[in-house]
């Protein structure tokens, strides 16, 4: 945690690449769509990583904030025809409110119990939003004709959100808050003895984390034009995948979630398209299977994730190329 320039040269190159990338794929809405999903997962992964990777509170229920964000954009539209675009802010705020309320319950729990508590809260929301048809239109979901046909503007919006989320985490981590998050993660009892109000700082971490998850949820509705409770509160497709994005990329690293998001989306697409149609069709059903194997591999051999164990990976690759010579 040295107090050098805010962004290193490498980081600026990454951000610049993100800026020009959609222009390279100007004529491929398909590629742009993938880029948009990658960015959305960067936001979700970064959000989870702040709470779990940096603060040690391993949430198994990030779908709760994602879903609340999405519904905050969708419900005023459904009932009052208010533009869902307001949701980009309101969804974040609403997710913070829910995050804070859930925090009252789940922050009384530690370790695996916290994980289960968050999982259960997201599941309760999923069921409730599916059942309360008068409010949410139930399992029929909420439909919205998206604003633009072209994908480029969506990309730049979610790209800006992704960069903002990463900047916010970076900012926090070089301040007192960041040191306190890490202290809580490493040893909560020691942290309290150092004068750290652990409850307060867990809440701060939760507020920022749930905000970004909520914004991502609102964006999802605006971009996709459809949500129902099974999609946005999904245990597997949202909560669990968010965790896996973090783990594969590297928990407790700034760029880990971004790397994890890229790997996850590309892998999924690679298999879904049956390796660009080169492989037999049955391969397309295997993306989740392969992803699961990847998770097992990473936990066993790269516990720090791709970013966290980058030195290790480099060494391994280096050794290989040396022996080949």
């Amino acid at each position: 945690m040295e107090n050098k320039k805010f962004f290193s040269k490498g980081e600026l190159i990454i951000i610049f690449t993100g800026l020009v990338l959609p222009l390279l794929f100007y004529f491929s809405p398909y590629a742009q769509g993938l880029l948009i999903f990658i960015m959305m997962w960067v936001v979700l992964g970064t959000s989870w990583n702040l709470l779990a990777g940096y603060t040690g509170q391993v949430s198994f229920g990030h779908a709760a904030y994602f879903g609340v964000g999405a519904y905050t954009a969708a419900l005023p539209f459904l009932h009052y025809k208010i533009s869902p675009w307001w949701g980009l802010i309101a969804g974040g705020i609403m997710a913070v409110v829910i995050g804070y309320l859930l925090g009252v319950v789940v922050f009384r729990l530690r370790g695996p119990y916290f994980a289960l508590g968050t999982l259960a809260s997201a599941e309760i929301l999923r069921i409730a939003f599916g059942e309360e048809e008068w409010l949410t239109n139930g399992h029929n979901g909420i439909l919205y004709i998206t604003t633009w046909v072209t994908k480029i503007p969506y990309y730049y919006i979610i790209f800006a959100i992704a960069v903002a989320s990463i900047v916010s985490v970076k900012l926090l981590m070089r301040r007192r808050e960041g040191y306190y998050f890490l202290s809580i993660r490493e040893d909560e009892d020691a942290a309290m003895a150092l004068g750290i109000n652990t409850k307060k700082y867990k809440n701060i971490s939760m507020i920022v984390s749930s905000f970004w998850a909520g914004v991502a949820g609102a964006f999802y509705f605006i971009y996709m034009g459809f949500i129902d409770s099974e999609t946005v509160f999904a245990l597997h497709n949202i909560s669990i995948i968010t965790i896996l994005v973090g783990i594969i990329g590297g928990v407790g690293t700034i760029w880990g979630p971004a790397v994890g998001a890229i790997i996850m989306v590309l892998l999924q697409e690679l298999f879904r398209s049956a390796i660009f149609g080169l492989a037999p069709q049955w391969v397309s059903g295997m993306h989740a299977f392969v992803f699961g194997l990847l998770v097992i591999f990473v936990i066993l051999y790269l516990p720090g994730g791709v970013v966290g164990d980058w030195e290790l990976i480099k060494k391994k690759l280096h050794l290989k190329s040396n022996t080949e010579k």
Partner: protein, 240 residues
Amino acid sequence: MGILTLNKVTKNFGGLTAVNKVSFTVEEGEILGLIGPNGSGKTTIFNLINHYYPVTSGEIIFKGINITHKQTHEIAMLGIGRTFQVVKPLKRLSVEDNIMAAAFARETTFAGARKVAREVLEFTHLDHVANMKAGALPIAGRKRLEIAKALATRPSLLLLDETAAGLNPSELDEAIDIIKAIRSELGITIIIVEHIMKVIMNISDRIHAIAFGTTITEGKPEEVAKNPTVIEAYLGTDYH
């Protein structure tokens, strides 16, 4: 009136009374030794002072404030720092970052916290390992880091729980010097728990002895060392 007063403090763990109506006062600027055989309740007393556990009965007054029911972090902010007998380093952070995390108790800026951390690193002779991960430190370093973290919170009272255990003779001398300097140079009041007689007799102004959670005696080191109950309960017959 002293800086810290325990008034008939009692702690029950289920059926076990770990601390039984213990009362004592620590004067400002003093080093008070707290001794007792294994399992007599010394660590528990520390855990009660900083409210790691709630007391069963009795009260604890620090600088005129009743802290009996205050939370751990509030007590730390009021100025009681402590070390843990079973050390609690922030393992994946560097030694310096460990101390910085503690320094943020009184500092709001990165630069301010770092300045404090550098001072403390030097004071505790940890500067040469500043960039090492705390989890990689050998035991002597970890014990020292406990003291360093506590110091970085700028306490006016420091609770040291067996910070000299497991050290070799030269490390021990260094530790004694540091503890003495904490009082003489930083003016911090200390309660020290230690099994090593050389340390406790050498450092303490006064000693409070307990056994089975109950006070046996209190007094000057040489008086306590002569007390027959202490010898029987704690020092054993082969103490000379």
